[in-house]
């Protein structure tokens, strides 16, 4: 991998994007033995408002903890897609929820779209795991952490009763992203 790989999870406050970023960073840092820094930016609102969680992954020491040129971006709302896609790099990857982001940002990057929240709600069975569906998709699209490492990181964060639900959400996101990319 290159020196620095930058991922941004964006959407609305309350969608669990900060947690998705934390799990991605834990996968890299704890399970894959790489360097990782996770940071976030959010407004004073408890719910709503544009929210972003950034993860930098590298083989070497990470100095600047925020994104400079984003390699991969997830946008779960139109507002986030509009606000946070400006520094997505040429050749990078943009993952959007096809139900919620109707106006796809223009740029020289690859866009992958599928109904992320709807998948969580109707196929996995709980809307609350939309962030894990999105995480599974980002793991598939970025290939910057191992699938095994990411799964371990997800399960380490989840209470026993919700292990199967989250496993299913992760796997479904992973598969749907690969199908949507093709």
């Amino acid at each position: 991998m290159s020196q620095r790989y930058e991922i941004r999870f964006s959407g609305a406050g309350g969608q669990g994007l900060i947690l998705a970023g934390v799990i991605m960073a834990e996968a890299a840092s704890i399970y894959d033995g790489k360097q990782a820094v996770q940071s976030q930016s959010y407004g004073p609102e408890a719910r709503g408002g544009a929210s972003k969680s950034e993860v930098i992954i590298s083989d070497t020491l990470i100095d600047y903890p925020k994104a400079t040129v984003v390699d991969a971006l997830l946008a779960l709302t139109q507002e986030a897609a509009d606000k946070y896609s400006h520094d997505l790099k040429e050749g990078g990857v943009l993952l959007i929820d096809s139900d919620l982001v109707k106006k796809v940002p223009a740029g020289k990057f690859k866009t992958v779209a599928f109904p992320i929240i709807n998948t969580a709600k109707n196929e996995v069975g709980r809307e609350i795991v939309a962030n894990i569906v999105a995480l599974g998709a980002m793991v598939a699209l970025t290939e910057v952490v191992t699938k095994e490492g990411a799964e371990k990181a997800v399960l380490a964060r989840v209470p026993e009763a919700f292990v199967e639900l989250n496993k299913k959400a992760f796997q479904m996101g992973y598969e749907k992203a690969i199908a949507a990319r093709a």
């Binding site: 934390v22 960073a25 834990e26 840092s29 704890i30 360097q35 990782a36 820094v37 996770q38 940071s39 976030q40 930016s41 959010y42 407004g43 004073p44 100095d63 600047y64 903890p65 925020k66 400079t68």
Partner: protein
């Protein structure tokens, strides 16, 4: 055995550092972006027989830690912005009563309510001049999650060693970001406890300079009885207005820190040996600076970084030496020039000093610093 590793937030690391240092009392009032420090300690302190108290406000919180410290406990409070303003009168009280306390202050936008979730570095002057009167000041400005743990331990050590308040001031970015942390084993890092009296209760005086500039501190509630006041006091702790005593006491309090700058002041030098342009930075901004210095080096520019780890006492000597060697100094900071003025004072015109100031809630990015390096080289 492999060391314990975790992926932690800065604030969580500060709380863990406090526990490692032997903190058994936290009195606070939650405020963004410092709340996680209180949150972790509210869970962990009861498990070890410690006490966690959420007070009615930041003033009460500061009072509670002073009182708890006087009973012999190692104490912490955590706050941010407006909370630090509220604590100031009692921070002065802790200074004059020579009470070891540690304050974690996470820097957010200000003044007043400002920008509660945005990063800032605009409390560094408040750490020294926020409370009135002449007084000692120690302020540490960590730049990573690991360092926030370690500097919190060091803050306790300095507070105990010098009988004075110590502030740990991460900016919001360092406090809220998550990184891998390797926990030191018990005993691996030095842990200092205050010196207990070696004399009998009858002979004990709480400010007895016979034992040096930092007199031993007995624990309240034991056989050692003493008086504590915010008034200028004599060696026995009772108020005095005797000119010679007050002069000597004030000077001694400041001297506790000023005479020990080499023990207290810490910094990191990066690529300084041949540097013509030196970036002087602290906290998360120093991470942008390191990125920019590396980029500048790749472009053939002799740039270096002096990273301030201890903001107060200020690294006067080191900055003066840099100014004597380098052509230009750059001071990026998330305020309108607080560190810059200190650097100018130390540089005494021997090198140019250019600031990069940002108070819009966004971090100073490496590109901004690189641009300035190219401009002044």
């Amino acid at each position: 055995m492999a060391k314990k590793v975790a992926f932690l937030q800065g604030n969580e690391a500060a709380a863990q550092g406090a526990l490692y240092a032997g903190c058994t009392f936290f009195g606070g009032y939650p405020i963004t972006p410092s709340t996680e420090v209180a949150e972790v300690l509210s869970i962990e302190l009861p498990k070890i027989g410690g006490k966690f108290i959420q007070m009615e406000d930041e003033i009460g919180a500061m009072a509670s830690v002073i009182g708890a410290s006087l009973t012999g406990a190692k104490v912490l409070t955590a706050t941010s912005g407006p909370g630090l303003s509220l604590k100031q009168e009692l921070i002065g009280y802790a200074c004059i009563a020579e009470t070891p306390v540690v304050i974690v202050n996470v820097m957010r936008g200000g003044p007043s309510t400002g920008m509660p979730t945005g990063p800032s570095q605009s409390d560094v002057m408040c750490a020294k001049w926020g409370t009135h009167g002449d007084h000692p000041a120690i302020c540490l400005v960590p730049a990573s999650v690991q360092e926030l743990f370690e500097e919190t331990v060091r803050a306790f050590n300095l507070a105990e060693k010098y009988r004075t308040p110590v502030m740990v001031m991460p900016d919001e970015i360092v406090a809220h970001m998550r990184e891998r942390i390797v926990f030191p084993e018990p005993g691996e890092m030095e842990v200092i406890n205050r010196t207990a009296p070696s004399v009998s209760p009858a002979e004990y005086k709480p400010y007895d300079t016979k034992f040096g500039d930092v007199p031993p501190l007995a624990a309240f509630g034991t056989d050692y009885r003493f008086h504590v006041t915010g008034l200028n006091k004599a060696e026995d702790g009772f108020p005095t207005t005797k000119a010679a005593l007050v002069q000597a006491e004030e000077e001694r309090q400041v001297r506790k820190v000023e005479a020990n700058v080499d023990d207290i002041v810490t910094f990191e030098e990066y690529e300084l040996a041949d540097a013509e342009v030196v970036v002087v930075a602290y906290g998360s901004t120093s991470r942008s600076a390191r990125f920019a210095v590396n980029e500048a080096r790749k472009q053939g520019i002799k740039a270096g970084l002096f990273r301030i780890k201890t903001f107060w006492p200020f690294p006067d000597k080191q900055i003066a030496a840099i100014a004597g060697k380098a052509k230009a100094i750059i001071t990026p900071e998330m305020n309108l020039g607080m560190c810059t003025q200190e650097v100018q004072r130390c540089a005494q015109g021997k090198a140019s000093v250019s600031g990069i100031f940002r108070v819009d809630g966004e971090p100073i990015n490496p590109g901004q610093i690189l641009e300035k390096i190219k401009e002044v080289k």
